[in-house]
Amino acid sequence: MLIKDVFFLPPMAIARVGGSDIPLESFEWAEDPSIHGASKTVIEPAITLEVGQDGSVRPYLPSVIRFRDGDKLRPTAPFYELWAIVQVDVDDYREMPITLDLLEKAGGKLSDIHYRVTVANLKASRRTGEAACSFIARADVRGNDHKKQKLLAISPHTSGQQPLVLADKPIPLGDFQVIRPIKVTEMGVDLSVLRVRFTPAKGEVYGTPKTITGPASPLPPGDALPAVTERGRIHEIVPEKNRILNPNTSWSTYIMEVSPLDPQPCDSYDGANVGNSQSWGVVDDSCDGVIEASLIINGKRFMAQARVFSGPPDYAPDRRPFYAVTDDLADRDQQLEGLKEKTLEETEADIADLFRRVWETSSLANLPATRRRALLENRINAPAPNPDLPPTTGPNSMTQVDAPYFQDLIGDELTAEVPKPEKKQVEVNYLDLAKRAHEELIDIDNLLYFLHGDGGGRSKQHIIKLIRPAFGSFAELADNTDRLEDENYKNDKFRDPRAHRDSLQDMRMPPYMRDSDEMPLSLNRRQYTQLIEFIKSPFDLEQETASDSAPVEGSTEKKYPLPIQRRAKKLKKKAEKSEQEEK
């Protein structure tokens, strides 16, 4: 057996801070199995690894999931497995976890492995522009050292610089542990696989000796009190034991908006929006970094890397974002190949999953509040030349007046139930209506009938119109430049960040949420293209009888049955086959 390369699984993971000493047990997303559960997304316990005193792990399946011990939340502490690409024959390469056996057969031993972890928090230095305001922790651990290693961070600095975190008062950013592999298999888990674990910090905040108490702005997000007022309740900012930072750094005198290079939004630090917005010099113990493994076998070094991002807890662990980091990375690096008959079922599964995630997010959103805020921003910042042009950007957005978008969204019979904006109770009903619009679409059957079947009487074009287009590709944007002069410019195919209308919120889906540039959020280009192609493109020519379901502009030439039709045919064939077998 010849090791050709090594790598970590997962390549990247998220750790989530928590004050408890016991990490969160494992669980997976699943569909509610109960009769009354309507197949909604729930979590179900999964095999958990408990780390023992000697550094080895014991697998077990929890019957319940405990999120908190006393008043402390449990942290999410991911394991990483070390894998190898192994040549088992002349042309036979396989990926497999590195176990004690594999390591021995390949000619290596645990002490030949060297792990290095580097994690850092650069938040203060990003704002001040000074490296001495960052703090970094490093640990170097041998593969046969199974003790928990504390990741204690201090600020790098050169002569004359003021370090934010002093060497004698480091900030713990978490722990790193090389798991002791043992030649045992329990519950189907091979415990001799080489594993490491990152445990995040406790979620503490740190400040200088002066970071004691202060008035908090009582205003809604983003609003600032007049500079000479300091109204608001007074709270302790940092607990006494954590007032350990050097008070003589530029982080304690930082004030936003002095430099145009501030990260946006810039008022996101303790001290912002009160008085003169001077920073209290507060940092947290979140971080991100790299875990490296270096394995020397027969004089050759193999390197593997993984990433960890250590951030806040997920307070709704059975609800997923519909636009995740993974969606973003896929949109950047993976070209969409276009809809193909042979991958139609996979696309169908992607779309079904997308709509399920949309419901999951929307089920916890305060739609009336975000709608109000978004429409207010439209009005204050940059009213459209014609705010009543549907979909409207004015106060009539998502009301009966916003035709036909609103009617297509929730159905005519309920449209009359939504009072016009000037009437009371408009907020309460939006929560019900959002639920109604999305909840039934988590069922694949309802979703397919919605997109391809009778669609509740909506045409495909109407369904497409309800979805806010993604931003255009670089090439599309380049070709669009001349059209931006037109103040009534509106493009239903893609959005342009330079176009005024595309910066305004309206009721198209997803409504009233913000994207990374403060623009109205949409699906990304990959998600949007896949969804629109799925709605538009596959249809059965034989079934075409009405102009309503004729191919819309831009659809592909390829024709094949709709998923509903395909499924019906498949079921019919299966039924015929079993009937024949019975005979």
Binding site: W29, P33, D71, F79, P321, Q335, D454
Partner: protein
């Protein structure tokens, strides 16, 4: 089993590592940037061009007026090519090939690099694949000014990856003067390596550097509302340990079951409903600084409900399945679908008996009648949907060959109201105003242990058997769950109307054709629309079964249009004390 889809970034990212909870995967992290998150995806684009590090200098508010336009744009922070994995310099290869990378490296090490190391440099124009975008706009005075950094970020973000090349025109700017320029040719960085890991070009701490400090600040303050999946806005409050929830997990207390509270509230025991605006909720939420030490008091939310510390997983419960597809079809077509249709019509009738706010002239009752009318319309509409789903289950059973013969739509209302489990005790359907007595009857109809719930539970149990296609049982399960919500909605209505006498909120309506000729005209039109609704539904369901989806779409659209007309006429008549007696009633 599960249709929850693992994310397909690469095969390696799909791999579920034993011991890791699902929330440790990147698919659980919003692909956004605003602070308080696990990483800021905009940091990827700081190093979009190998060897260079940019910052996207932007206004605090992207829509705010330009006060210092020449400070904004994609500003070059520094050159960082020595250890860039895409340039290969660190490998110290003596045989540098004649590639784009080697030219770019030579540029950095030569005059161009020297120039770029001094002064304030910005990207002026980006070129890719015969396209170019000049990063400027025209202001109100017709002056050319730079685009905002975030607008540029979006343009850069949407560049195509390799093998397409990227050319940059960089200019040295001082206010509105251009002092010098440099052109470089390279490509957009590949963010993940072949092992699925973020490029080593990104330093530890770099992906989180632009997030909130501390993250608790933004948990209190973010106004972006894209991340309810990790940071909920509104949730149902915790159910006390001493009370038994309903079978779908929701509270048996109709107020708690129907009241969404603000998750970020400072008083964690408060069950006051969340307001529909941010400023109204704000005074009752945790403050900045307060969140620094109280973030662990915020409840974990599962199934949209706050929990204390323990989550008990949902378990599959049992009901007695029907013995055959034929028996199942009999129950659906003879009992359940007709019951759904009858209830939809009964509920609608009762709903039209309730006064509108302008008829009651009492600010408190005003809210109660609003709530009542809204809730009943939602329930009636849901019953209509159930009628369709019942039919859909039937036609899909025929499609799957589990029933012989062919499907025919079931659109006949039941005769009796199922207020008990024993059909022999059911009263006749009645077309009654929403009296306190009839409201009690509706609550009995929708009770979690009532006839409809238990019968549908058996339908779900039947459809969960392996001979039935899986997707069909989900429809039935949804009907059962909706029923419980109807039950709580009706009980909420009851509580809301409790302080009032029937005469305060009910119109005095009588079913039947009026005597006034003008009213008769409206009444007849309403019945005509009703006939059209039923006729179009019949045609739509038949077309759905034939998979003539275009035809089905047309008839559903017509049925909905007719329903709206019917609803408006019924409201007009009800204001005059006239109730519509549905044909056959």
């Amino acid at each position: 089993m599960s249709k929850l889809k693992p994310y397909n970034l690469t095969a390696r990212n799909n791999y579920k590592v034993v011991g890791n909870p699902a929330i440790s995967r990147l698919e659980d992290s919003p692909g956004n940037c605003y602070p308080g998150l696990e990483l800021d995806v905009r940091n990827l684009d700081r190093r979009f061009f190998p060897g260079l590090v940019f910052e996207f200098a932007a206004k605090d508010d992207i829509l705010a007026p330009d006060t210092q336009p020449w400070l904004y744009g994609a500003k070059l922070l520094y050159l960082d090519y020595q250890q860039d994995p895409e340039l290969g310099y660190y490998k110290d290869d003596p045989q540098v090939e004649d590639t784009v990378a080697s030219h770019l490296l030579a540029d950095y090490m030569g005059d161009k690099g020297s120039k770029l190391s001094d002064g304030d440099w910005y990207i002026d124009t980006v070129y890719q694949d015969n396209h170019s975008i000049s990063l400027y706009q025209t202001d109100k005075n017709n002056q050319k000014i730079p685009l905002d950094g975030l607008v540029i970020w979006r343009i850069i973000r949407n560049l195509a990856p390799k093998p397409k090349l990227v050319k940059l025109l960089l200019v040295q700017r001082k206010d509105d003067k251009i002092l010098d320029s440099v052109t470089l040719t390279g490509w957009r960085r590949t963010f993940l390596d072949e092992k699925g890991v973020l490029s080593v070009a990104y330093q530890p701490g770099e992906m989180t550097q632009s997030l909130c400090s501390p993250w608790q600040h933004d948990f209190r303050d973010c106004g972006c509302h894209y991340w309810a999946s990790n940071h909920p806005d509104v949730v149902y409050p915790q159910i006390s340990l001493t009370s038994t929830p309903l079978p779908d997990g929701e509270s048996a207390n109709p107020i708690l079951a129907n009241t969404l509270v603000d998750w970020l509230r400072s008083d964690r025991s408060s069950t006051a409903a969340a307001y529909g605006t941010i400023p109204e909720n704000r005074p009752f939420q945790m403050d900045h600084f307060e969140a620094n030490h109280r973030w662990q008091d915020l409840n974990i939310v599962l199934e949209n409900r706050e929990i204390d510390s323990l989550y008990i997983p949902r378990s599959s419960n049992k009901a007695n399945p029907y013995s055959s597809p034929e028996e199942l079809a009999e129950v659906l077509s003879k009992q359940l679908i007709p019951l759904e249709m009858m209830l939809a019509l009964e509920y609608l009738y009762s709903r039209f008996s309730v006064k509108t706010p302008d008829e009651v002239n009492d600010p408190l009752l005003d809210e109660s009648v609003n709530l009542t009318r809204h809730n009943i319309m939602v329930i009636a509409s849901s019953e209509m949907l159930h009628m369709r789903w019942g039919n859909q289950i039937l036609w899909e059973l025929y499609e799957a060959g589990l029933l012989k013969g062919s499907y025919s739509p079931v659109l006949v209302p039941a005769q009796k109201i199922p207020i008990t489990k024993d059909p022999n005790t059911w009263p006749n359907r009645s077309l009654s105003p929403l009296t306190k007595q009839i409201l009690d009857d509706y609550i009995k109809v929708e009770h979690p242990e009532g006839f409809i719930d238990t019968t549908y539970s058996r339908v779900v149990a039947t459809l969960s058997l392996p001979i039935y296609p899986k997707h069909i049982s989900e429809l039935a399960s949804r009907i059962v769950t909706d029923g419980i919500q109807h039950y709580n909605h009706f009980r909420e209505i009851k509580l809301s109307l409790k302080p009032y006498e029937e005469k305060d909120y009910l119109r005095n309506i009588t079913p039947g054709r009026p005597e006034d000729p003008e009213d008769q005209k409206i009444y007849d039109q309403a019945l005509e629309h009703y006939g059209q609704v039923i006729g179009n539904l019949y045609k739509a369901y038949s077309a759905d079964y034939r998979k003539d989806l275009a035809m089905a779409t047309r008839h559903i659209a017509k049925a909905r249009g007719e329903m709206v007309e019917l609803s408006e006429l019924a409201e007009t008549l009800a204001r005059k004390g006239i109730g519509i007696k549905w044909p056959g009633w």
